[in-house]
């Protein structure tokens, strides 16, 4: 592998960890981002000449920190207060072993997550900031995930960073007392990150493994740090969804749950997910993540699609609606009812939900309606609903799947 490819790989795997540590060492998001950029510029310059260092991560942290302090000193000619800051930064981080040890780096990632998800920031900004800083998504990618303009996302991130700096939101993992309150926001954000990777928001790639992997890793860290039922439930949910990754597309085409080759499911992930679901449900009233994980576990434990326990799934959706009511949950329940009681029952529920208007622009509401119509032999209505879903679909494999369904209607 040539050095440039190595650097690209290191950027992909290490840049967010390096950033998390640089934010702690430099005390400022923007300064740390600049330092990260400078560190990689230095790597591109030096590694081809001097070879790739034994620990690229430590090298990059040192290089970034050094260059940031150097930049402060240069700017200090125009702003005297920066000289004091440069000396302070240099003084407080004298022992390299302490600030780039493996444990400290993991802590930094958690610090970054909890800071990005601080309740003093707007909820939208928490998500945007986490996707940008922790996962390294671009503002364009975040904008697509949130169906909003890149400029809006950029503004949210800028405002959030300004508040972190100006109101002095500390760069730390909250203490035991604060932790439970702070966890909900973090879990919500982690799951959104997982979904961003599991069903990438648009374009030709159906899944972006590394982003989902990132969310699962964060989920594991959170479970280690705070084994609350919902943290465990979320990890279980992500693992159970992840277990189907290989089976949910074939030759770049979407394969729905009932058509998936179940031998391609990752049974070690399923086993781990099921164990975690039991652990999450065994401690107190179940939260939304634990219930969703339980639904995924029922699917995972069915050897064939027609042996799925739909009655149990509908029952779990009822529990979920009580814990966390939303039109999307209602839609999923309706799809489960269509399996338990037949497509006519499902269609009636789906049409009721669509009539309320909230899901009019939701692709999966129209494709679920189309599926019920297709099973009932209502070809014209199925065609109209698949066409509407196709208009709303942004991912190429999903678009091809819907086009295929449309063609099948004509046969």
């Amino acid at each position: 592998m040539d050095v440039r490819a190595v650097i690209d790989e290191v950027y992909r795997t290490e840049s967010r960890r390096v950033l998390a540590t640089l934010i702690r060492l430099l005390g400022d998001f923007d300064r740390a981002e600049e330092a990260l950029h400078d560190a990689f510029s230095a790597a591109i310059e030096q590694w081809p000449r001097d070879g790739v260092p034994a620990s690229p991560r430590a090298w990059l942290v040192s290089a970034g920190r050094f260059r940031a302090i150097d930049a402060l000193r240069r700017r200090a000619r125009f702003d005297a207060s920066l000289a004091a800051l440069a000396s302070e930064l240099e003084g407080q981080t004298a022992a390299p072993v302490e600030w780039i040890g493996e444990d400290t780096l993991e802590d930094d990632r958690l610090r970054l997550v909890f800071t990005c998800c601080h309740p003093a920031l707007q909820p939208d900004a928490q998500v945007a900031l986490t996707l940008r800083e922790v996962c390294g998504l671009t503002t364009e990618e975040i904008a697509r995930a949130f169906l909003t303009a890149p400029r809006t996302v950029a503004q949210r991130i800028v405002r959030a960073k300004a508040k972190i700096r100006d109101a002095r939101i500390p760069y730390q993992v909250p203490d035991r007392r604060e932790l439970p309150d702070r966890l909900d926001a973090v879990l919500r954000v982690v799951y959104l990150v997982f979904n961003e990777g599991y069903s990438a928001s648009s374009g030709a790639t159906l899944t972006r493994h590394d982003v989902s992997g990132e969310a699962i890793r964060l989920g594991r860290l959170l479970v280690d740090l705070l084994p609350e039922p919902e943290a465990i439930g979320l990890l279980a949910l992500m693992l159970l969804q992840e277990s189907r990754r290989a089976a949910r597309s074939a030759d770049g085409e979407v394969v729905l749950l009932d058509a998936q080759d179940r031998s391609r499911w990752d049974h070690s992930l399923i086993a781990e997910g099921v164990r975690l679901v039991e652990r999450a449900l065994g401690s107190g009233p179940p939260g939304p993540y634990a219930v969703q994980a339980a639904i995924a576990a029922v699917h995972a434990e069915a050897a064939t699609p027609d042996r799925t326990d739909w009655a149990q799934i509908v029952g779990l959706y009822d529990v979920l609606l009580r814990a966390d009511a939303s039109p999307v949950v209602e839609l999923n329940r309706a799809a489960a009812v269509a399996m338990r009681d037949g497509p006519a029952a499902g269609l009636a529920l789906i049409e009721g939900i669509l009539a309320r208007g909230e899901l009019q622009d939701y692709q999966f509401a129209h494709s679920a309606r189309a599926d019920c119509c297709r099973r009932l032999g209502l070809v014209d209505e199925a065609r109209a609903a698949y066409t509407r879903a196709l208009d709303l679909a942004r991912q190429e494999p999903e678009r091809r799947f819907l086009e295929r369904r449309l063609r099948e209607l004509e046969m």
């Binding site: 207060s81 003093a120 109101a167 002095r168 939101i169 500390p170 909250p174």
Partner: protein
Amino acid sequence: MRYLCLIYDEEKKLAAMSKGEQDAFMGEYFAFTEDIKKSGHYVGGNALQPVHTATSVRLRGGKLSTTDGPFAETKEQLGGYYLIEAKDLNDALQVAAKIPSAKLGTVEVRPIQEFN
């Protein structure tokens, strides 16, 4: 870093308290103030007279306009403040959460702008 904790209470709710409840509420405030003096957070603080005593002034084009009432009519009214010294926002929020009015109204926490 210094933060201003702006205390918003619903005056109607406070006025509707019995004498005993009002005394207990004031007692909580005295105890809280003592606590944050001991912990080193306290810089200053005052309660304000009710909003019916407020007067707002504006100077526009050299012309002074004086009006009865607060800057904005809101359900909860600014009733007092603490100026505190805190390590960071988390520290400030923990202090603010213990202000007795946090249970009844809202405490807005704002970092002080330092000019150097």
